[in-house]
């Protein structure tokens, strides 16, 4: 394991741990308003570590809950894309032929849909709903995953070690389980770590547009959105959530890079 992987992994663990236990160490909660102290700057006094927002809500607790929401959205959306994408891509790639052609044309069709427009329609039709965000984000991410897994499966299927397994007498299912799947792990893990930041960004974008999580619930994206409104009076409302968002995204990207190098090195060298 390289240093990149360890450092990025460590940062992500710290952020996740802080988001989970952090709010317990604060006397405040994320929705109680305090009209006595709106827009307080960060200070240790009264445990306002990150200050308060325009409604006097505690920004530290709000940010930590925001990180929770963001991470959960990202993980669930990536999981959706992982399950659908890998199953779909591996099936198309291994079966091949006409099945593959039909399955991939379906993916192409979905690609052609204007995603944001679709999400807005969904929001309007079903009223805003946390679950809907997962579904919407997962629904675009699995397309890329399916394409990547299919391509990899296609090339693995032609490898000589698969022919060797057929000659030995391994059945189709055995070949997928013993030879194709383990060789997909590398690329899937790498792609997943790159999907997560994408999901986070989409969630932040939706929240920024006001289409994401609903007040008083919050996420990093909606916090940044709120911070922009108060940018001049209270810059910390923008800077703190934005900095955390950037940190998380960068850590995931570095993790992906590190993992790619790790899996590449094992294949060749």
């Amino acid at each position: 394991m390289s240093r990149t992987i360890r450092i990025a992994g460590f940062i992500l663990l710290c952020v996740a741990a802080a988001a989970i236990v952090g709010p317990w160490f604060s006397p405040h909660d994320y929705l109680t308003t305090d009209f006595g102290g709106p827009l307080l700057p960060p200070s240790a006094a009264d445990a306002r570590y990150f200050g308060t927002d325009d409604l006097g809500r505690d920004l530290f607790v709000r940010t930590m809950t925001g990180v929770r929401v963001t991470l959960v959205v990202a993980l669930v959306a990536s999981l959706v894309s992982l399950v659908i994408g890998v199953a779909y891509g591996a099936t198309a790639g291994f079966v091949g032929g006409r099945v593959d052609a039909v399955m991939m044309r379906f993916v192409d069709t979905l690609y052609a849909l204007p995603f944001i427009f679709l999400v807005i329609l969904l929001m309007v039709a079903f009223e805003r709903n946390f679950l809907l965000i997962f579904v919407a984000i997962g629904a675009i991410n699995w397309l890329d995953m399916a394409r990547i897994v299919r391509g990899q499966t296609l090339s693995l299927r032609e490898q000589e070690f698969v022919q060797a397994a057929q000659l030995i007498g391994v059945g189709t299912f055995g070949i997928i389980r013993r030879h194709i799947a383990p060789n997909l792990v590398g690329i899937v893990v790498v792609y997943l770590t790159l999907t997560i930041p994408q999901a986070i960004l989409v969630e932040s974008f939706l929240s920024f547009l006001g289409l994401g999580v609903q007040e008083p619930q919050t996420s990093l994206g909606s916090l940044v959105n709120g911070g922009v409104a108060q940018m001049e009076a209270a810059p910390w409302l923008l800077l703190i959530p934005a900095a955390l968002l950037a940190l998380i995204l960068m850590a995931f990207n570095f993790l992906g890079d590190g993992l790619r190098d790790y899996f590449d090195a094992r294949k060749s060298s």
Partner: protein, 573 residues
């Protein structure tokens, strides 16, 4: 003063010394061979001469060309030597040519860059050069992209690029290794023809090429020169143990008694097999039988259909027509539809062991897999014992169990591949160019291993190879294929003593013999293997055949018995 004078050349990568105090001298008009196994530092030494090593390499010693030092010069100064005075040809012409530029433009650039010609004159010189390297239609090759050319034509274009500025020295790094033997003979002949103007530093692992084409040779082992001197005297009396081993390990196509037939009990037979590949007929109506305990060699150049034939036999490619009969039963087409008992009896060893071994599996799991499938009753400990036993049989021990394929050398990986094929005790083992990628000494060990297994367990081997010298040492019978057809089949003794088909004869003549005394150049077969998209009418070999007559382009010759051989030629006698 030598044309090229390299003394005390040492190349390091950090702590690693890959080339250690190597001396190389090349005189004008001379041809010097640099020989060694993979990893001996021969390519690194050549790259250092032209300043083509990566920046991480620390190079010391002295490199002088025509009295001028090359080492330590700036790139811009080196550019005045490269191509202009020292040409280079690499092993893989596909990688050395720019895929987006037509061949003519790439050659023209060299002339323009060195200010040797411009405009229409440059074009004319390029075409003239393409003609000189033996391209039949130079005007057309001038406009062709690299992917439109065959390997042999590409290598000639590379040679034309290396020679167009009329350099005084040509460095050729395994220039014919990737080519078919008949094309190799043509290229080597060409290098011979230009020797008066251009001296040659030839890097190769093939002692046959050195023996036939170099006056001097330098033997490298692990970065050091172990032997150097005139080729004839080194072959007659090697100065170093390593040289002697190399010469002994080099198989000879011209001597040695091929193994005599062992039995006539048929184990496996293929009848009228046809394999289609896209729009091409890769195998056209081929029949043969494999007897118990014998080795049948299938030989031919690329595109001859030998690999497709055995893949059809094994059920990895569909047979468009024909049948495979094993132990009296007709086998199903695709391997997935064959009975497990039939599958365990027919095994394959691939050419490239690294792609034939699952990169995510350890050696133990790889060799164990057949046992898990076919002998489910074994306990883990019994399986482990069986795996260790078969690994020891192929010359690897217990300590390899936990290795991954990328942690093995090519030779070790090929042994693992063989161990996997042997662990179930198959009846027929197909080896598809199984030793082609291995160094001489390792190749010999693997061949001995196969022969021993055959003696001990009565294994039948189908041995696919383009190398008739190797075939001569191990096979009982030989099938010669050309452009998808079987052109001759005979017992090895008969075939090597009196080849009947003109193609077999040309193939035998093209193989370099590792002995400078008996290596006079024989008639070189012109042309190339035809495209399978549009095979020639009549006899597929007639466009290249020295004996072709009118009937050859009209009527496909049938196989007939001629003096103990079966030959498909109208004129065989």
């Amino acid at each position: 003063m030598s044309l090229l004078d390299v003394t005390g050349l040492t190349i390091r990568y950090g702590e690693d010394v890959v080339v250690d105090s190597v001396d190389i001298f090349v005189e004008r008009g001379e041809s010097v061979g640099l020989v060694g196994e993979s990893g001996s530092g021969k390519t690194q030494s050549a790259m250092a001469i032209l300043g083509l090593l990566s920046r991480r390499a620390q190079v010391s010693g002295s490199i002088e060309f025509d009295g001028q030092p090359l080492l330590g010069r700036a790139e811009a100064e080196l550019d005045r030597f490269r191509a202009r005075r020292i040409g280079i040809v690499f092993q893989d012409p596909m990688q050395a040519l720019n895929p987006y530029l037509r061949a003519g433009r790439q050659l023209r650039q060299i002339l323009l860059r060195h200010g040797l010609a411009s405009g229409a004159e440059a074009d004319a010189r390029v075409v003239e050069m393409l003609e000189r390297v033996g391209l039949p239609d130079p005007e057309r090759q001038f406009r062709a992209y690299p992917h439109e050319m065959s390997g042999g034509i590409r290598q000639r274009v590379m040679l034309a690029a290396a020679l167009i500025a009329e350099p005084e020295l040509l460095i050729a790094d395994e220039p014919t290794t990737a080519l078919d033997v008949t094309v190799q003979a043509q290229i080597l002949q060409l290098l011979e023809d230009i020797r008066d103007e251009t001296a040659l530093l030839l890097i190769t692992h093939d002692l046959g090429v050195i023996a036939g084409h170099c006056e001097h040779m330098i033997v490298l082992e692990q970065g050091r020169v172990v032997d150097a001197g005139p080729t004839t005297s080194l072959f007659a009396a090697p100065g170093h143990e390593h040289t002697r081993r190399l010469i002994e390990a080099a198989p000879r196509v011209d001597r040695g008694e091929p193994p005599a037939p062992v039995s006539s009990t048929t184990v496996l037979s293929v009848g009228n097999a046809v394999v289609d590949y896209d729009d091409q007929r890769a195998v056209n109506d081929v029949s043969f039988a494999v007897h118990a305990g014998e080795t049948v060699a299938v030989v031919g150049e690329s595109g001859s259909g030998k690999s497709s034939l055995v893949r059809g036999l094994l059920g990895l490619l569909p047979l468009a027509a024909g049948r495979v009969i094993y132990a009296g039963e007709r086998l199903a087409g695709p391997v997935q539809k064959r009975a497990q008992a039939q599958r365990r009896d027919l095994q394959l060893v691939f050419q490239d062991p690294l792609s034939a071994l699952d990169p995510q599996m350890r050696v133990r799991t790889i060799v164990e897999e057949p046992l898990v499938i076919h002998e489910a009753g074994l306990t883990a400990a019994e399986r482990r014992a069986r795996v260790i036993a078969v690994l020891e049989k192929v010359g690897l021990g217990e300590k390899y169990l936990r290795r991954f394929p990328h942690e093995l050398s090519g030779g070790q990986a090929q042994r693992v591949s063989i161990a996997r094929a042997l662990v179930l005790g198959p009846k027929v083992l197909v080896c598809d160019e199984a030793v082609a990628a291995l160094d001489g000494t390792v190749r010999r060990q693997v061949l001995e291993l196969l022969a021993r297994e055959q003696r001990e367990s009565g294994l039948s081997i189908v041995f696919i190879s383009h190398d008739l010298a190797v075939v001569r040492t191990i096979s009982h019978r030989v099938l010669v294929m050309y452009a998808g057809r079987l052109v001759e089949s005979a017992e090895s003794r008969t075939l090597f003593a009196s080849p009947r088909h003109p193609y077999t004869r040309a193939l035998l003549d093209s193989i370099p013999v590792p002995d400078p005394v008996v290596a006079p150049r024989r008639a070189v077969l012109g042309g190339e293997v035809p495209s399978l998209m549009e095979p020639p009418a009549g006899c597929v070999f007639h466009p290249r055949c020295p004996r072709a007559a009118g009937i050859c382009s009209e009527k496909v010759p049938a196989l007939r018995n001629v003096g103990g051989s079966r030959v498909a030629c109208h004129f065989a006698e």
